[in-house]
Symmetry: C2
Subunit: 227 residues, 2 copies
């Protein structure tokens, strides 16, 4: 294998944020190592979206099977079919039921291990300020603590830098950045319900549509309900 | 489900250290949630040993399938059959090839997520001072950084304490503690080669036998070669 100093490993859900993240590192000239995670999420369609976006960038893409992990974590609306996906605005307290505890820490640490073994320079996460209220493992404090943990866990071995270039920006900033970079947002998937089209009612649909509207851009998403 | 405030989730390989760890928390009156990880390790026999030890304690036990993760991490003698398992003493530089980068961080973070979802009070790791030279993710600095990361990742959600009661002790101390607690060491598995019996030559076999000898205890292990 050739020198991989310009390889960036991305935690890549196939949603709007990670699609824009792929565009960001592609634009910077990195080879992309796109890592999607199957943790038994109800919105399994995001993995098909991830394949389509990876194809767009002709990038190396793996769907990492973590279904055994998700199966042992009851109580989240994302993985537990006995818990309903809440509707309404993302910031609402009800979105708390969509938390899968430590999810980003698990996915990021898997990405870090693979990145170290493969010699990738960067591990990148698509987290942003709109995630902060609901998801503690999307906050700047988490990113700092994660990098410290990675540094100690890999002392003396290839150690990627963990980056989250959108962490201080809003979803609207991501919509703008996606447009600037020509990211294939129409191929991406956000909806937490796993229907044939975006539902238009769950927190991520509401947030996705709002981002395009606030950015003054056309939302390329087809919604089943009013977003 | 009943109140789980006395539930301890253990990263549980089925080796001597984690078998003694199970004995330690069983002795303290915790219910045990034993989590073994299948990351495609060559010494897959440790998972059978884990099942036997879990049976001894009549404990809840899961083998978490992380083979998809191991498959994406080439270069370690533990997972990559093109890399030989080194022989000789554990502290030797050659043991470096047995590192699976970020392995403990991955397993610990999975255990933390499951523990949080299940309301377990503790996540416990069997790491000890003998691991420190070779494996950075077994050192006290790592444990401190991991706890900080866990605390930030789970802010506002059930947050287990990460413990490693043997971290400042030696393998010999663990052999003594195992004997005190009547831990079923004969059921456990250490050898990095996946043969029918412990090989007696790899680093973990040498270390295991040395621990019993130094503790003045009979080693219950049957070795294929001289240990």
């Amino acid at each position: 294998m050739a020198d991989n100093t310009r390889l960036a490993a991305l935690s890549f859900s196939g949603g709007m944020d990670s699609t824009t993240l792929a565009a960001h590192y592609d634009h910077q000239g990195y080879d992309l190592l796109l890592l999607s995670f199957d943790y038994g999420q109800r919105h399994h369609r995001e993995l098909e979206a991830a394949r389509r976006v990876a194809g767009h960038y002709q990038a190396e893409h793996h769907v990492v099977d973590l279904t055994a992990v998700g199966a042992l974590m009851p109580g989240s609306a994302l993985t537990d079919l006995t818990v309903d996906v809440p509707e309404g605005h993302y910031a609402a307290d009800s979105m708390r039921t969509t938390v899968v505890p430590n999810r980003n820490a698990i996915m990021a640490n898997v990405a870090v291990g693979i990145a170290s073994a493969r010699g990738a320079e960067i591990v990148a996460l698509g987290i942003h300020a709109g995630d902060h209220a609901v998801y503690p493992d999307c906050r700047p404090e988490f990113l700092t603590a994660l990098q410290a943990c990675v540094t100690s866990a890999l002392d003396g071995f290839a150690t990627p830098v963990v980056e989250a270039p959108f962490i201080h920006g809003t979803k609207t900033d991501i919509a703008r950045r996606a447009a600037e970079l020509g990211a294939p947002i129409a191929l991406s998937w956000s909806c937490y319900n796993g229907g044939a089209a975006h539902c238009g009612r769950c927190g991520t649909c509401v947030e996705r549509h709002e981002a395009f509207t606030e950015a003054g851009l056309l939302d390329p998403t087809e919604y089943a309900g009013a977003a």
